[in-house]
Amino acid sequence: MTEYLLIVLSAIFINNFIVARFLGICPFLGVSKQVETATGMGMAVTFVMALASGITYWLQKVLVMFNIEFLQTITFILVIAVLVQFVEMVIKKSSPVLYQALGIYLPLITTNCAVLGVTIINVTENYNFLQSVVNGIGGALGFSLLLILFAGIRERLAFAPLPKALEGIPIALITAGLVSMAFLGFSGFNLEALLGF
């Protein structure tokens, strides 16, 4: 149990996809204008990352069995693309408003490198099935946390009296840098010692 807790905490805070691994920056900047859409995006990414982690775990087994690991990237992308397509259908059916708000960023989860990143990290870290899924969920939670935090800041920034030259994307990039630096404080934490395991 503690092992899974460590994976989740590490994926959220220490090896956060956005601020530590610098993956998934596109949706981080693109869908972080409103907390509501950021939450929706976070949920969609969580779903895709968890499922992709699980499916690619078995897929990797098949690839190893046939000695064709070099097809890893293309097959993983295939899985992710299918999952994203599926999520898109589900969201379009269940919440047209969220579908509108996410817009182009929903199909772009396919090319969200954080998703492919988590599946490949699972393989290189030799995680078993459960660990892979937990790492996927943890990574996605870290992604969502950052996205929602950042969206909260940007919602307030929209009303802040800024110099004209900094309005919009420039201040967002500066803020992203500051948030990233804040998360730098987590790097190098020895979670096991800290939590007394």
Binding site: L59, V62, I68, L71, L78, V82, Q85, K92, K93, P96
Partner: protein, 274 residues
């Protein structure tokens, strides 16, 4: 070795085939189960739109335009390409109002023969790239760079480059989508009413003597057109004659009077530019 590599290829193909088939089937079932009822008018209007997905309306493609029209966010005349919007208006059950047909006009008459180059440009065949390299090769800093970025973006094949390195608009094919206007780094191309044939083929705002130095057919702001125009449609501002299309009557007196042959009318424009 041979057999081993063969089996790798076979296994690779087989695994990808099985995966693709399984996923395809899954998605096909899901799309049936999760099909969303969309307004049938969206499909009807999309079928009436040109289908070039040029983006001239400001929406992502013709589908986006159709959705916006049905949602009421865009007017039925929103497509700048269509000449007749009444079928769309009929689908939506509203009256269509005729809009003036606009086409692209290239407002520069100084090609290779008339306007000298300051240096020979060997860079990327793109006007924006040429513009960023010391302001372009042409001595006239307002004139057409002649690399045809506008021609490349035209989705309707309505533009071509003349032998004189100036873009020529086929006014019958031009739909007024405005992509060439956006592509030109010097804002030479404007959307102009189709039935107003007289245009000042110059954008140079420098004084007469400076214009003469860089172009044989540039506007020198002599104001002969202003004085001779019976409707007062050609004011000169910033050393450049500008035609007000609403006042122009296509009388072409200015075309006759212009000493630099900068202003062109219906027939002469084609001969000069083409």
């Amino acid at each position: 070795m041979e057999a081993g590599s063969m089996s790798i290829i076979l296994h690779g193909v087989a695994v990808l085939l099985v995966l693709g088939a399984a996923f395809g089937l899954g998605l096909a079932i899901a799309s049936r189960k999760l099909a969303v009822e969309s307004d049938p008018r969206i499909d009807e209007i999309e079928a009436l739109l040109p289908g070039a997905n040029c983006g001239g309306c400001g929406y992502p493609g013709c589908r986006g335009m159709a959705e916006a029209i049905v949602a009421g966010a865009a007017p039925v005349t929103g497509c700048p390409v269509l000449k007749d919007h009444s079928p769309i208006a009929a689908v939506m059950g509203v009256e269509s109002t005729a809009t003036e047909r606009l086409i692209a006009r290239v407002r520069c008459g100084g090609g290779r023969k008339e306007a000298p180059q300051r240096f020979i440009y060997f860079g990327v065949e793109d006007c924006a790239a040429a513009q960023s390299l010391g302001g372009g090769a042409k001595a006239c800093t307002y004139g057409c760079l002649g690399l045809g970025s506008c021609v490349k973006v035209c989705p309707f094949g309505a533009m071509k480059m003349s032998d004189n390195a100036l873009p020529v608009v086929d006014e019958e094919k031009c739909t007024g989508c405005g992509l060439c206007v956006k592509a030109c780094p010097r804002q030479i191309i404007t959307l102009w009413p189709y039935d107003k044939k007289v245009t000042v083929l110059c954008m140079n705002k420098d004084k007469g003597a400076e214009v003469r130095a860089v172009c044989k057919v540039g506007c020198i702001a002599c104001r002969l057109c202003t004085k001779n125009c019976p409707t007062g449609a050609i004011p000169v501002e910033d050393n450049l004659a500008r035609i007000t299309p609403e006042l122009c009557t296509n009388c072409e007196i200015c075309v006759e009077k212009c000493p630099m042959k900068t202003i062109k009318g219906a027939k002469k424009q084609e001969r000069a530019v083409g």
